[in-house]
Symmetry: C2
Subunit: 206 residues, 2 copies
Amino acid sequence: MNGPAKLIEYWFDFGSNYSYLSTMRIEQAAQQAGVRVVWRPFLLGPVFQELGWSTSPFVLQKEKGAYTWKDMTRQCRKYGLPWTMPSRFPRAAVLATRVALSFEDALWMSSFCRLVMHLNFAEDRDIDSVETISEVLQALGLPFAEIIAEAQSEPNRARLREQTRQARTLGIFGAPTFFVGDEMFWGNDRLDDALAWCAGDAGVSR
Amino acid sequence: MNGPAKLIEYWFDFGSNYSYLSTMRIEQAAQQAGVRVVWRPFLLGPVFQELGWSTSPFVLQKEKGAYTWKDMTRQCRKYGLPWTMPSRFPRAAVLATRVALSFEDALWMSSFCRLVMHLNFAEDRDIDSVETISEVLQALGLPFAEIIAEAQSEPNRARLREQTRQARTLGIFGAPTFFVGDEMFWGNDRLDDALAWCAGDAGVSR
């Protein structure tokens, strides 16, 4: 008999470059740690606005921005991920986020998220059009028209607004952010610590 | 015969909590990587002010601040370091910084830095008085009065102003920051990457 499943909540935004790193590696890392990923797509833009920032700190703070793109180049090399500096940053991805939210429990969710991230950060493609998201869903062999209609429905739109409000309530101020129970971990750099905490590895994190 | 020494420049501020983590572990980590540490103490306050921040982002941004102290508790557990939330943050440490700058090549430099950091982040002690710095130097068996006179001399004061200007010129926006040649790494989380880069470990960082 198994005990209760160990869960990690993964809060991410499709426009966030450090969410790209986590999205590409979380499923494998969680599997190795015996942990299930609960996908929590949300919109970071409204969170930033409530914090008083008109856009990403990487745009608002010139020095931090310049550093971030160097860091991304090195981090992607480290993780063996392709990297192309997006010609627009941060990219809007409302439809993709609605799809991810509406179908968060679907078996194809992680593949969908990785494909969208790949378009944004490896292929420098716009990711906010119905055409692009249809293409991604088709590539996964899915009934794209139905899925998009469901994602665009008013109840699901309202649910995304609620999801983003919840991010604020939880004290989220950036992405990616991981939760293990009430314990919050911010940034791709903390994914391993969060998984170790989840696994109850006292030597590493407790 | 040895090749040219591999160097890591370590830019840090005695009031910076993430500099505490790096200061406690950099010497051992660098030694294991066969790298020599060049200590670069500077004042982060004037850098923040030029960036338009009146104090640390951890004070200015409520959510990030609340998270940071949770993160510090966990990080210190992970590294096996003592941790006490400082009752004043960020603490001024001009004299300690002047001492560190004036004697940056001294054999006792790393011990001095660790002791000052320990007072701030493990014992919640004020670290900006002549008494405290004298106490630290005495504990190391050093001629504290002479050292403090030298540190307070006008040429050394000017040198610290110049050091802090150089931090800005290099694009530094936080601490700790590491340089390997022109390559900049920000944050204690990047110390291992910086050392791997320094060691030319192509598989990890290049």
